[in-house]
């Protein structure tokens, strides 16, 4: 860990962001969180998340001071309970009402209602992403100043629904457009102090990698057909070859997908500006691959317990590859006036999703 840190400092001595955390410091937090989460049947997970973020934010330096996380477990818990109270009727319908309607022969109306519910849930996922980002910014302080965002997010929820559906049209060709335009739409409603974020990501340079993602299964299919047509007669060899081929196809597809995602993350964060600051993200596909292989390695080597370090590694990875250039004028960086939402990230917890 220390060598890595030194290497980072030497490589990018003047990056505005620095992560100074240490896994030995984080381990007692993560392990006691795990213990308390187990004995409370999961209810402690909100407080666990708050503790974890307090640590990670406090070890993240921007220019001359650290970030500070001020969100609490209690507010995340309450936000989640409120969301569940609203969503539970729909969940109960899915569990019982649908079955009752089918048993009565109301097949078409049941499926129609189910479809409507699923579309509604899908839009709510968009809303959850919006609100989770706004919540996190509003609880993040630097120099005593916090971020925030416009309240609501229903417009974004609707965009999320239709842009994702349109993105999937024409064999998924419009997915990069959907992703970047949703990224812009979301970040353009966020702010830090008095300064709005401005995001202007486009699909330039992303389409090539995305075409590769789409083409891989087709190319793989051709390879399989070609090898199968001249395959040997021994059924065991054929089965083994088949397994190896399937494994290879998944591995290649995952790497190609990672390549697209790496380019998308660089593009999206690189398009972000705020109050005279220009952000950049430097992680290449290879860095992402190392991150994921590291996750797998740690989880396997610790027989699973290592999963508590995944959030730590993700955050460290994010901050170590995040850069900002430009100037911060402290006089004009005044307190945010955006309202502090009370829903915390309840909706995101309900759907078990992240913000970024």
């Amino acid at each position: 860990m220390n060598i890595e840190r030194q290497g980072f400092d030497a490589a990018a001595p003047d990056s505005a962001f620095r992560f100074t955390g240490n896994w030995r410091e984080f381990a007692p937090i993560a392990l006691t969180n795990l213990l308390l989460t187990i004995v409370t049947l999961g209810i402690y997970r909100f407080w666990a998340r708050a503790r974890e973020r307090r640590y990670l934010w406090s070890r993240t330096e921007f220019i001359d001071d650290t970030l500070e996380w001020t969100g609490t477990g209690r507010e995340m818990f309450i936000g989640f309970v409120i969301v569940m109270a609203v969503l539970l009727p729909a969940i109960l319908f899915v569990q019982f009402g649908f079955q009752a309607m089918i048993l009565r022969g109301l097949v078409a109306p049941a499926f129609l209602l189910m479809l409507g519910l699923y579309l509604g849930f899908f839009a709510l996922v968009g809303l959850a992403r919006y609100r989770a980002l706004r919540y996190r910014l509003s609880r993040t302080y630097w120099h005593g100043i916090r971020g925030g965002g416009e309240p609501g997010g229903w417009g974004f929820a609707f965009s999320y629904l239709w842009k994702t559906l349109v993105g999937a049209f024409v064999i998924g060709l419009l997915v990069p457009w959907a992703w970047t335009s949703l990224w812009n739409e979301r970040w353009n409603r966020m702010s830090f102090g008095p300064h709005p974020f401005e995001a202007s990501a486009n699909t330039e340079g992303l389409m090539g990698r995305w075409m590769l993602v789409l083409a891989t299964p087709i190319l793989a299919g051709l390879v399989v057909v070609a090898t199968a047509s001249q395959g040997g007669s021994n059924p065991e060899t054929v089965a083994l070859m088949g397994l190896a081929t399937i494994f290879a196809i998944y591995a290649v597809w995952a790497i190609v997908g990672l390549g697209f995602f790496a380019a998308y993350a660089r593009k999206a964060i690189g398009s972000l500006e705020m109050g005279g600051l220009q952000f950049a993200f430097t992680a290449r596909s290879m860095d992402w691959l190392k991150l994921f292989l590291g996750h797998v390695g740690i989880v396997l080597a610790t027989l699973g317990i290592g999963f508590v370090f995944i959030s730590y590694r993700n955050w460290a990875f994010f901050i170590r590859h995040l850069e900002a250039s430009g100037e911060v004028s402290l006089d004009t960086l005044t307190q945010s006036t955006s309202p502090v939402g009370a829903d915390a990230e309840g909706l995101a917890s309900a759907f078990d999703i992240g913000a970024i």
């Binding site: 006691t32 308390l36 569990q95 048993l103 630097w142 005593g144 402290l330 307190q335």
Partner: protein, 349 residues
């Protein structure tokens, strides 16, 4: 006087101030320019680390006072140490909290396991009937009926249960090999089951199993579980609790299935019908499952029903050698029952 950074929450400008502790709180000052007395009651500890101390003033958004390490002891001791686990856990200590939460959680799980069985008999039949009517309705008009078939089914039910009037046993035209007990004494035999079942005695064993579910109020107990503990734990507890609850729920169903088999054997014995054909049915079912091969015992823990081979042995063992059992139905009645759906116009499935 200790040097510190002060952010006032209004702008990001950092003020270099001097801090001194006095009886009532902290005195902050920029020598010759500005001075403020902050009462201790208005201050709270945000973080204590090796880097120093961060204090906040909850009434002023963004107000931060940062003292670099080493913090003078007269200031440091004003802000008691805490571990930051949250609220009362800090007060009683981690290990006491773990023990207390563990005990409560064990209690909740035990309640979830035993309460439905204990509470089910207390649910009035009218409530169960109303719920059954909502859930089942008229089964989409898929009931099969013929005078001779209905008579055979009534006879079979009456042989197994002394109070057939509380039961509504129906054959439905749904293409699944199964039978099911639903709320309010509704028992559905799916028409396709007749293709697998080879005689009236086998059907008697299956029907007896479903009647036992009704008589032991397993359906009501399962609904109580789903509505009460199931919804509560999966909604509030998230994935951890969901998984634990999944196992509890599974063992709950498995226990109910084993109970129903026991009840079915007792019913067959009272009706003087041989349990051996039911064993044969499970043997055939086991043949279909046999594909799972040697993984069977491992899978048994994850399956809601006991393994067919175990059930086969149970029914086989209940058959008394040399006893003169009587057939559950006459060949004529059996033929009528099997044909009960043939008079029904085929629905478009």
């Amino acid at each position: 006087m200790t040097p510190a950074h002060l952010y006032d929450g209004a702008s990001a400008v950092r003020h270099e101030v001097a801090v001194a502790a006095d009886g009532a709180g902290l005195r902050l000052s920029i020598p010759g320019e500005w001075e403020e007395q902050v009462p201790l009651a208005e201050l709270a500890l945000a973080e204590r680390s090796r880097a120093g101390l961060t204090l906040v003033r909850p009434a002023v958004q963004g107000w931060r006072l940062r003292l670099a390490a080493p913090v003078p002891p007269e200031i440091d001791r004003l802000f008691p140490r805490r571990h930051g686990y949250g609220g009362w856990i800090d007060r009683i200590g981690l290990w006491w909290a773990v023990a207390a939460c563990g005990a409560i959680s064990a209690g909740v799980l035990a309640f979830g396991y035993f309460a439905p069985t204990l509470l089910a008999p207390l649910v009035p039949p009218s409530v169960e009937r109303a719920y059954g009517a909502v859930l089942v309705g008229n089964f989409g008009g898929k009931y099969c009926s013929s005078p001779a078939g209905d008579a055979a089914l009534r006879k079979l039910t009456a042989e197994l249960d002394p109070h057939p009037e509380d039961l509504n046993v129906r054959v439905v035209d749904v293409p699944v090999v199964n039978a099911a007990a639903l709320p309010a004494g509704n028992i559905m035999i799916f028409d396709k089951l007749f293709e697998t079942v080879q005689g009236p005695d086998e059907l008697a064993g299956i029907l007896a199993h479903e009647i036992a579910h009704v008589r032991h109020r397993h359906i009501t107990a399962a609904l109580l579980r789903e509505f009460g503990v199931g919804v509560f734990t999966t909604a509030l507890g998230g994935t951890t609790a969901g998984r634990v609850d999944g196992f509890v729920s599974l063992s709950f169903t498995r226990r109910a299935e084993a109970d129903a088999d026991q009840g079915a054997i007792a019913m067959l014995k009272r009706a003087d019908i041989s349990p051996a054909p039911t064993a044969a049915f499970f043997r055939r079912l086991g043949g279909l499952e046999g594909k799972a091969g040697r993984f069977e015992p491992a899978l048994a823990y994850l399956s809601s029903h006991p393994l067919s081979s175990a059930r086969e042995k149970k029914f086989e063992g209940a058959a008394i050698k040399g006893a003169s059992y009587r057939p559950a139905l006459t060949p004529r009645e059996w033929a009528d029952l099997r044909a009960i759906c043939s008079s029904r116009p085929r629905s478009g499935d």
